[in-house]
């Protein structure tokens, strides 16, 4: 069905590609823009910013989100900051360096051209956000402050206390509110996308369920933009919000969009360890804490002394020991894996033994508790609320947790998937972070896509589409509506003996175990054998109370978990097929003698994009490979030593 993948990367030198591309892209004249209706699904940093920007440009936008307000999208929870190559610190930063750090951080599994563009527009984002009134941290002189972040040797991260995501999202939300008030954007909160509708092979509409009334509806548009975030919740426990799900992108996948690199998941090194059985989510402690905190475990396995009873000589500051030049700021995948390693050796701390210390004693002695409070006060508060411990007095306990997913729907340079008209932005696409994302880059990518990339590339598609928006009474819509309806009815009619959450928990544990921080072929095969059974049990034995024509949270979750149960399998297939280690994808079979990820550039320097072959998992998905061409950077073994 699908031929070779055309990434549509413009020709010319790396630094000029984006400018050239913009100069030669097709445009839509202002008087024609109002003739288009753009469907944007998701209202986080990517969706919110693009809906606002497209509205401002004069398009008619319909924006959908499952939350009760666009301001609650999970971008809001990002803590640490947003990168930009402003070089305000005079420490040698540049667009090229941000590009290089990002592509190296991603373990050379992303496209040069996309990443370069991201670095290039990063500065515009800071300008834009400041103008919107985002209260970034400032120096006493009134100029913007920066801090450093994992994976970089320059200080290029802009931040608003520990609530950068919140402030950037509120900036986008306020811009969106302005467009809603102006009538260019129509907002559909508490509305979940349940299917994509294709007309003559083009994405021209979606099917939604109103979560309040239960009404299932069809919406048509001239283009569909998915900004629906990542799939980290496939692991059940993650730092994602409870509602985050894969449904929109997975439904698009089932309609023919390729899913790229689903096995690339990021395990964040600094989260609060799991405590109880009932735990419903994991809480992230911003990576920025690693600027001033030192990570350590006891040298002796099974050392149960209180942290302050353990003398300096008996502590192992393992990140500083193993990676002297980056120390506690080693990239996320490396830090996470190191934590797993020391815990596997029995040196983990806390009740469960799955935790390491993040110690601020030195920083407090050096800078004073007040400075530390100013920098991280809210994080220390969160920590105390959850654990009941005061991190000013005793070191925090942290452990890695699923945080971000680099994989996503395949898109070309224009952020359009292989399905014409279907655009995918933000975490929902696969494009910019390769096999591992650096800290403070997610916010950058979401806003880059939303404010400065899609608004330029979307007209390239729209220009040929005037007057092609279908009416929603077309048979394609009818059919999709019926399918969604039938599926909903099916879920409600099973009336089995297990709750939706119990399936989700089981799937999550399985994936965390077999497809988490470290993976191997045998474990992945086990998971691949188990997931279809679990899915079969789900469709036989799940219990979803209530009915479809009402507010029904169990039904919402059931639909999402049903998709996770299919998607988890795709993830494991991808992880098994990618027979190398890279970034967040660590295959135990492939490591250097000192335990670092060992890439296989000869065989795997490409994107894996999977095509759905119909009928659940009966037919294995078909693999398409997009070779990654590196014209500018040299592929090296990542070294943070």
């Amino acid at each position: 069905m699908i031929g070779s993948l055309d990434s549509k990367i413009p020709s010319g030198p790396l630094a000029e590609k984006w400018t050239n591309h913009k100069d030669h892209s097709r445009l839509v004249a202002p008087n024609n823009r109002r003739k288009f209706e753009i469907i944007v699904v998701g209202s986080g940093l990517a969706g919110g910013s693009t809906a606002a920007t497209l509205g401002e440009l004069g398009y008619n936008v319909k924006c959908f989100c499952y939350q009760d307000s666009p301001r609650r999208a999970h971008s809001i929870a990002a803590q640490g900051g947003i990168n930009a190559a402003k070089n305000y610190q005079n420490d040698g930063d540049s667009v090229f360096r941000l590009f290089y750090d990002t592509i190296k951080g991603g373990d050379f599994r992303s496209r040069e051209a996309n990443v370069y563009r991201l670095a290039e527009v990063s500065n515009l984002i800071i300008d834009q956000c400041v103008e919107q009134g985002v209260p970034f941290a400032r120096e006493y002189g009134g100029l913007l402050a920066n801090r450093s972040f994992g994976g970089a040797q320059v200080s290029r991260t802009f931040y608003a206390r520990g609530q950068t995501g919140q402030q950037l999202l509120l900036g986008a939300y306020q811009a969106l509110c302005r467009q809603i008030d102006a009538g260019t954007v129509e907002m559909f909160p508490q509305t979940e996308m349940l299917d994509l509708v294709l007309i003559d092979g083009h994405a021209k509409g979606i099917i939604t369920r109103n979560l309040v009334t239960g009404k299932i509806e069809a919406h048509s548009g001239d283009a569909v933009v998915l900004a629906t975030g990542g799939y980290g919740n496939v692991f059940y426990l993650s730092t994602n919000a409870r509602g985050c799900n894969v449904t929109a992108t997975y439904r698009a996948y089932k309609k023919g969009a390729l899913f790229a690199n689903p096995c690339y998941t990021q395990i964040h090194p600094t989260c609060i360890p799991v405590t109880g059985q009932n735990q419903s989510k994991l809480t992230l402690m911003s990576e920025s804490l690693r600027n001033d905190g030192r990570v350590w475990v006891p040298k002796k396995p099974g050392d149960t002394r209180a942290p302050n009873q353990i003398p300096e000589a008996e502590r192992d500051y393992y990140l500083e020991r193993k990676y002297p030049s980056f120390g506690n700021l080693a990239p996320r995948d490396i830090s996470s894996r190191s934590a797993k390693e020391v815990c596997d050796e029995g040196r983990g701390v806390g009740e469960s033994g799955r935790g390491v210390y993040l110690d601020f004693a030195d920083a407090i002695a050096r800078l004073g508790a007040n400075t530390i409070c100013e920098r991280y006060g809210n994080l220390f508060d969160i920590y105390e609320k959850i654990t009941g411990e005061n991190a000013y007095e005793r070191p925090m306990r942290i452990y890695p947790a699923v945080h971000y997913t680099m994989g996503g729907l395949w898109v070309d340079y224009n952020l359009m998937s292989n399905v014409p008209g279907l655009h995918v932005i933000g975490e929902a696409n696969f494009s910019d972070h390769g096999a591992n994302r650096l800290g403070a880059s997610a916010l950058m990518q979401g806003l880059a896509d939303g404010y400065f990339v899609l608004p330029y590339t979307l007209p390239g598609y729209l220009a040929g589409q005037i007057g092609k928006r279908p009416a929603t009474d077309r048979p394609e819509f009818r059919q999709a509506l019926d399918e969604v309806d039938a599926r909903t009815k099916k879920l409600l009619s099973i009336n089995g003996k297990r709750s939706v959450d119990s399936f989700h928990r089981e799937l999550g544990l399985l994936l965390w175990d077999k497809c988490g921080m470290a993976r191997n072929a045998a474990g992945l095969r086990e998971a691949l054998a188990r997931i279809p059974q679990l899915r079969e049990e789900f469709w036989r034995d799940v219990r979803v109370p209530g009915d479809g024509e009402e507010f029904n949270q169990s039904l919402e979750r059931a639909g999402r978990v049903a998709d996770f149960l299919e998607f988890g399998e795709l993830m494991c297939i991808d992880a098994l097929t990618r027979d190398e280690s890279c970034g967040g994808h660590f295959r135990e079979e492939h490591q250097t003698p000192d335990g670092e990820a060992l890439r296989d550039d000869e065989n795997f320097a490409d994107v894996f994009a999977w095509e759905y072959q119909g009928n659940g998992s009966a037919a294995a998905p078909k693999l398409h490979r997009e070779p990654l061409v590196f014209e500018t950077v040299q592929l090296t073994q990542r070294s943070y030593k």
């Binding site: 301001r71 929870a77 834009q128 913007l144 302005r178 609320k385 709750s499 009402e550």
Partner: protein, 251 residues
């Protein structure tokens, strides 16, 4: 730990609601309040009953989705903090806990403990923004902002939009919410051009939604999970007074 829960159950806006008693047993003190409710729900579902509908999303106190009044206090007894940041260790073993939705006329009930808070969005839509077209912004460091002002703006901007202020207020007033947004933008140079217009439109929208009036009881700031200070309400009053005068003067 063991608890007796009295939870507001109401099938839909039209049906009459009532408090229903449930038992929660075997609860670890390290369980969060919402996880305790999850466990109760799991049991209800398996017993063939409808689970308790309640809102939550991020479960780390930043998205503002959770909206419970626990023992008569918005977000429960652990201030400042959202209901999702409340842990069972805050309660005495064996305690009776009353759980109700946020109650205010502009927050119509959807089901059980879930209410519709779009009124807050509409207040922001009326003017809680800076008109800044993507692409037109000047270089970020071209306007220095004294750290003190940036910090004050940040303190006001920290509002998570949960609506606890209105839920806790004896008069169901949303002044703290509105004050936070008006103040955030009024503290910054970027917010100046629309300053007059913004406060007038936002206050009009707020009144139009049917929120009550501020009688300065300061209950809002006591329950605010984002520590928004009620002194911002004084600022809002000031902004509003000045803006009204300006409008009168035809400015």
């Amino acid at each position: 730990m063991k608890f007796k829960l009295k939870v507001w159950r109401q099938k839909d806006p039209k049906t009459k609601g009532k408090l229903v008693t449930y038992e929660a047993s075997d609860v670890s003190p390290n369980t969060s309040f919402l996880e305790m409710l999850d466990a109760v729900n799991e049991r209800l579902v398996l017993g063939g009953e409808e689970p308790i509908a309640f809102d939550s999303d991020c479960r780390e106190g930043i998205c503002g989705t959770c909206s419970l009044t626990i023992n008569g206090e918005a977000h429960g007894p652990d201030h400042p903090g959202a209901a999702c940041e409340l842990y069972m260790r805050r309660f005495k073993d064996g305690a009776t806990i009353v759980v109700e939705p946020f109650r205010a006329k502009p927050f119509p009930l959807i089901k059980d403990l879930v209410v519709d808070r779009r009124a807050l969005d509409r207040i922001v839509q009326a003017g809680g923004f800076v008109a800044a077209r993507a692409g037109s912004a000047p270089e970020a460091n071209s306007t220095p902002i004294p750290k003190q002002n940036a910090d004050r703006a940040m303190e006001a901007a920290a509002c998570i939009g949960c609506g606890a202020c209105a839920a806790a207020c004896p008069n169901a007033s949303a002044m703290l919410f509105t004050a936070a947004k008006v103040s955030h933008l009024a503290f910054l140079p970027q917010g100046q051009p629309e300053r007059t217009r913004r406060v007038l439109k936002m206050v009009t929208a707020m009144d139009g939604e049917g929120f009550g009036n501020c009688t300065n009881t300061y209950e809002c700031e006591a329950v605010c999970p984002a520590k928004i200070s009620a002194s911002l309400i004084a600022k809002l009053n000031r902004e509003y007074a000045v803006a009204s005068l300006r409008q009168e003067a035809g400015d």
